[in-house]
Amino acid sequence: MDNLGFLFAVFGIAWLVLFFYVLVLIRGQDRLRKEVTKLNAIMKEKGTDKPAH
């Protein structure tokens, strides 16, 4: 059949780009969530260590 290479290229590129974008977003979210838990832990520590203002 004709020009199937181009057809494949379009769908392939679209899928790859969108897939990687979703991956980036989800990885980012994981990283951010970890940071939040870490920071919350620090906050709790500080809360018990610091004398009241």
Binding site: D2, F11, L18, V22, K46
Partner: protein, 222 residues
């Protein structure tokens, strides 16, 4: 609450995408004049349509942000712009890859394509302007201005190029009526991509929410 929305939407999106792929590759008959390559159309058009919707969202959110100054609107605007730029890049690439086998050239200076290119550049500038400003709130304001000016400008660009084009006639983009099967396929694809867009937007917004939460915590720590 948002997580369950997100999960539900993602599942819906995946199902719709599967349905769309089936319709594109199995259900719809091959188009007579262009052959199999024409199936690119079913990705190209929804991407373009949604990119335009994304920038329309940026425009509305920019206006509301300037008026109400609630940062949530700015968050939606910047997220929508980012996804809009990705979709625009994809539809420009798919358009080129479709044009090469059909017309023999990667690009023609035709109103819609040119306006799309200008749109792409303007919204990349929109995203860049934010990173070039120290103060976040100021960056949001400046970006809102770019978002408004850009959106208003694009129809004028299209009009100017259309008028310019009447002197340089060229192959017409695939117009003509759509057979019913093609119309259904297109509609399913547009729906699938709309859901995809929403999923991406919600994911991005969730990220931004967590980021601002982190900023709050940092502020309290210091």
């Amino acid at each position: 609450m948002r997580t369950s929305y997100l999960r539900g939407l993602t599942v819906l999106g995946l199902l719709l995408m599967l349905a769309a792929l089936y319709m594109i590759f199995v259900y719809v008959p091959t188009e007579a004049t262009m052959g199999a390559v024409q199936r690119i159309f079913y990705f190209h058009v929804p991407l373009a349509w949604l990119a335009f919707m994304a920038f329309f969202i940026v425009f509305i959110c920019s206006v509301v942000y300037l008026v109400m100054r609630n940062p949530k609107w700015d968050l939606v605007a910047s997220s929508s712009a980012e996804i809009g730029v990705i979709f625009t890049s994809l539809f420009l690439i798919s358009g080129s890859l479709w044009a090469k086998p059909i017309w023999g050239v990667w690009w023609i200076w035709e109103p819609r394509l040119t306006a799309a290119l200008v749109l792409w550049i303007i919204y990349i500038a929109y995203l860049l302007v934010r990173s070039y400003v120290q103060n976040k709130e100021q960056g949001a304001r400046l970006a809102a201005v770019v978002g408004i000016a850009g959106f208003v400008d694009v129809p004028v660009v299209a009009l100017a190029v259309a008028l310019w084009r009447t002197d340089h006639p060229s192959p017409v983009i695939f117009e003509g009526g759509l057979a019913p099967s093609m119309l259904y396929t297109l509609l399913v694809c547009i729906t699938a991509f709309s859901v995809l867009f929403l999923v991406l937007l919600l994911l991005k917004l969730a990220n931004k929410d967590i980021e601002s939460e982190i900023k709050q915590i940092y502020k309290q720590l210091i």
